[in-house]
C-alpha cells in the first residue's frame, strides 16, 4: 500500500501549500490530495485538469413548511443550536442536521433532507493524479469530505501503482485535521519561528502523539529568527518530533506563486536546495518508519 504523508501546521499561512506544491514536483510516484477543503489553494499552483466531478452529500438540514406548521413550539425546545427563529424559520447555517425538530414535530411540518455540501474532483496535473474538493461556503462535515478525498486518492494510488499519497492538510487541530491525519505514515509539520507558530506547532505535535502518528518538523523562514528557531526545534524534538530541515525566507516563494509555479520549478537558489533536502530527509524518514499495525 502507498505510504501517506500529511502536511499540516496548526497555524495557517506558514507555507504548507507552497511546500506541498514543491514536494508534488519532486516526488516521483505520488498521488496528490488537497484536504484543506474549505480554503483549497493547491490547485492554484498545480492547475489540474479536472476529469471527473462528484457531488458531495453533506449532512442533513431542516426546513419548516409554514403552511403545515401549527406554531406549537416543540421544535424550539428540542433544538439545541438556536437554529429555529421565534417565527419558525430554520437558519440553515446554524442547523446541525440532528433531526430533533423533525422527530418531535406533531404536524409533520419539518422537511429534513440531505444537502449537497460541495464537490470533489479527480484530476490530472503535470505532477500526476490529484484529488481535491470544494466545500460549499459555511458548510459543516468538512471532515467527511476530507475522508472522501483521501479514500479516492488511496484507490488511485492502488490502481496506478503509486508509492505515495501526499496530503495538503487544513489549519487547526479540529475535525478536518483529524480526518486528514488518521492512519497516515507521517505528519510533516511546516512551522515558522514566531510565538504563534511555536504555540500551534506544539498543539499539532500533541495531536500527533494523541493518535500515535510519527511527526517531522520543517522550520520555514528559520533565518528570520535563528535563535528562536533553534529553541523551537529543540522543544519540538523533546516532544517527539523528527527534524527534516529548515527553509530560508525568500521572496521568490511569492513570485513563484504569482505565476502558478512551484518554487522548485521557478528558479534555482538556496530555497530550492533546502526544499530538496527537506524532501530527501522526509522520504528517508518515511521508509525507515514501520507502522506498528503492519
Amino acid at each position: 500500500m502507498a505510504k501517506q504523508i500529511t502536511i499540516i501546521s496548526g497555524k495557517g499561512g506558514t507555507g504548507k501549500t507552497t511546500l506541498t506544491a514543491s514536494i508534488a514536483a519532486l516526488a516521483e510516484s505520488a498521488v496528490l490530495a488537497d484536504c484543506d477543503v474549505d480554503a483549497a489553494d493547491l490547485h492554484l499552483i498545480l492547475t489540474p485538469h479536472i476529469n471527473e466531478t462528484h457531488d458531495f452529500a453533506g449532512g442533513f438540514s431542516a426546513t419548516i413548511d409554514p403552511k403545515a406548521c401549527t406554531s406549537c413550539g416543540l421544535c424550539l425546545d428540542a433544538c439545541r443550536y438556536d437554529a429555529i427563529s421565534d417565527d419558525f424559520a430554520v437558519n440553515d447555517l446554524m442547523c446541525e442536521g440532528c433531526g430533533a425538530c423533525f422527530d418531535i414535530c406533531p404536524a409533520q411540518a419539518v422537511i429534513f433532507k440531505r444537502e449537497t455540501a460541495g464537490q470533489w474532483f479527480e484530476s490530472t496535473t503535470r505532477f500526476g493524479p490529484m484529488v481535491h474538493a470544494a466545500l460549499a461556503a459555511g458548510q459543516d462535515n468538512s471532515g467527511k469530505l476530507v475522508s472522501q478525498v483521501r479514500k479516492r486518492a488511496n484507490e488511485i494510488a492502488e490502481e496506478q501503482n503509486k508509492d505515495l499519497v501526499i496530503i495538503d492538510g487544513p489549519p487547526g487541530v479540529g475535525c478536518p485535521v483529524i480526518s486528514a491525519v488518521t492512519g497516515v505514515d507521517l505528519i510533516l509539520i511546516c512551522a515558522e519561528p514566531t510565538p504563534s507558530g511555536r504555540h500551534d506547532l506544539l498543539r499539532v505535535l500533541e495531536l500527533a502523539g494523541h493518535f500515535g502518528i510519527p511527526a517531522a518538523l520543517c522550520m520555514n523562514k528559520s533565518d528570520l529568527a535563528p535563535e528562536k528557531s533553534r529553541e523551537i526545534l529543540s522543544e519540538a524534538q523533546q516532544n517527539g518530533a523528527h527534524f527534516v530541515g529548515s527553509l530560508p525566507y525568500d521572496t521568490q516563494a511569492v513570485a513563484a506563486m504569482m505565476q502558478s509555479k512551484s518554487v522548485v520549478e521557478f528558479y534555482e537558489g538556496p530555497l530550492v536546495k533546502a526544499i530538496e533536502e527537506v524532501w530527501a530527509n522526509t522520504t528517508e524518514l518515511v521508509s525507515s518508519l514501520t507502522k506498528p499495525d503492519n
Binding site: G12, D38, A78, R203, A225
Partner: protein, 284 residues
C-alpha cells in the same frame, strides 16, 4: 457591539489586526479569541488570567437496565454515534453532537446525558483590555460548542473584537454569526485572493456587513484591489509589508506599541470600524 476579524486563508494577519486594534481601543474593549483550535491572541496581549473554566458538552449515556435494545436511538442518531448491541448500547463520544434526538426518541426513557469536557474558557485582563479565550482539548473534533461558549462569556452591551478561525466552514460561521460587522483580512497573493472570494461568499450569505483589510501590501500584485473594486467591497485599511512588523510579531510584541506609523494606521482603522458597526447597529 461586536466586530469580528476573519479570513479565508490562514496566516494573513487576523490575530495581528485583532490584537493591534485591542491595544488601540484599550480599556473600552473585550478581546474574544474564537480561534479555539489555534488560539494565539494571548501570546501578544499577555493577559493575566483570573479564571479558567472547563467547558463541557452533553453526551448520551444509556441505562442498560432500562434499555430493551429496540434500536430506535441508533436509527435516530444522524451522526452514527450509537451502536446497539445485545444488552448494551455503545456511545462514541467524539461523534456525539449532544443534540438530544436520542433522548427524545427513546420509548423506554433509558437515555440520559452526562457532561464531557472538551476545552477551557479563560478570562482575564491585559492592560485594560478584557480577555476571553477558548482552547479546545487536543483530539476533540468539534469546536463550535466551545466557540459558542466563548461568545456567551461576553455580555450583550460589551464592545467586542472577536478573533475568528480561518476558513469558511462551521467554526467560522459560528464565530462571526451575530456580530455587527466583519473585517475580512487578506493578503495580495493568489492564495489570499482565492480564499477571500470564498470567505466573501460565506459572509454575504450570512448577511453580515463587512469590509476588507489588505495586509502585506507590496507583496504580490493588485488583483485583490481589483476584485474589491469590481465587487464594490470597501477596503478599510492597507497595511504595508513591513519587516519591522514581522520582527515585532516574531518577538511577541504588538506592532502599534513600537512602530509609530502602525499606530496611526490602526487608530484610523478603529475609528472607521466603530463608525461602520454603529451604522449597521442602528439600521438593524
Amino acid at each position: 457591539m461586536q466586530i469580528s476579524i476573519a479570513s479565508g486563508k490562514g496566516g494573513v494577519g487576523k490575530t495581528t489586526i485583532a490584537v493591534n486594534l485591542a491595544r488601540i481601543a484599550a480599556k473600552d474593549v473585550t478581546y474574544a479569541d474564537c480561534d479555539v483550535e489555534a488560539p494565539n491572541g494571548h501570546l501578544y496581549l499577555k493577559p493575566t488570567i483570573d479564571e479558567t473554566k472547563d467547558h463541557s458538552v452533553k453526551v448520551a449515556r444509556v441505562d442498560d437496565a432500562k434499555c430493551n435494545s429496540c434500536g430506535v436511538c441508533q436509527d435516530k442518531c444522524r451522526f452514527n454515534a450509537l451502536a446497539v448491541l445485545p444488552g448494551h448500547v455503545m456511545v462514541f463520544d467524539e461523534l456525539c453532537h449532544g443534540c438530544g434526538a436520542c433522548v427524545l426518541a427513546c420509548p423506554e426513557d433509558a437515555i440520559y446525558e452526562i457532561e464531557r469536557p472538551i476545552g477551557v474558557i479563560e478570562t482575564g485582563r491585559a492592560d485594560g483590555v478584557r480577555f476571553v479565550g477558548g482552547r479546545i482539548n487536543i483530539g476533540e473534533a468539534m469546536s463550535p460548542p466551545l466557540i459558542r461558549a466563548v461568545k456567551r462569556a461576553v455580555a450583550k452591551d460589551e464592545l467586542v473584537i472577536l478573533d475568528a478561525p480561518p476558513g469558511t466552514s462551521c467554526p467560522v460561521v459560528n464565530s462571526v454569526s451575530g456580530t455587527d460587522y466583519c473585517v475580512m483580512t487578506t493578503e495580495p497573493t493568489p492564495f489570499g485572493l482565492h480564499d477571500l472570494t470564498l470567505a466573501v461568499g460565506m459572509i454575504r450569505r450570512m448577511g453580515i456587513p463587512f469590509g476588507v483589510v489588505v495586509n502585506r501590501v507590496g507583496l504580490g500584485d493588485d488583483r485583490v484591489h481589483e476584485y474589491c473594486r469590481r465587487e464594490n467591497i470597501e477596503i478599510l485599511a492597507e497595511i504595508p509589508d513591513d519587516r519591522r512588523a514581522a520582527k515585532a510579531y516574531a518577538e511577541g510584541i504588538i506592532a502599534v506599541d513600537v512602530i509609530p506609523d502602525w499606530h496611526a494606521i490602526f487608530v484610523n482603522l478603529w475609528q472607521r470600524l466603530l463608525a461602520r458597526a454603529a451604522s449597521t447597529n442602528q439600521s438593524a
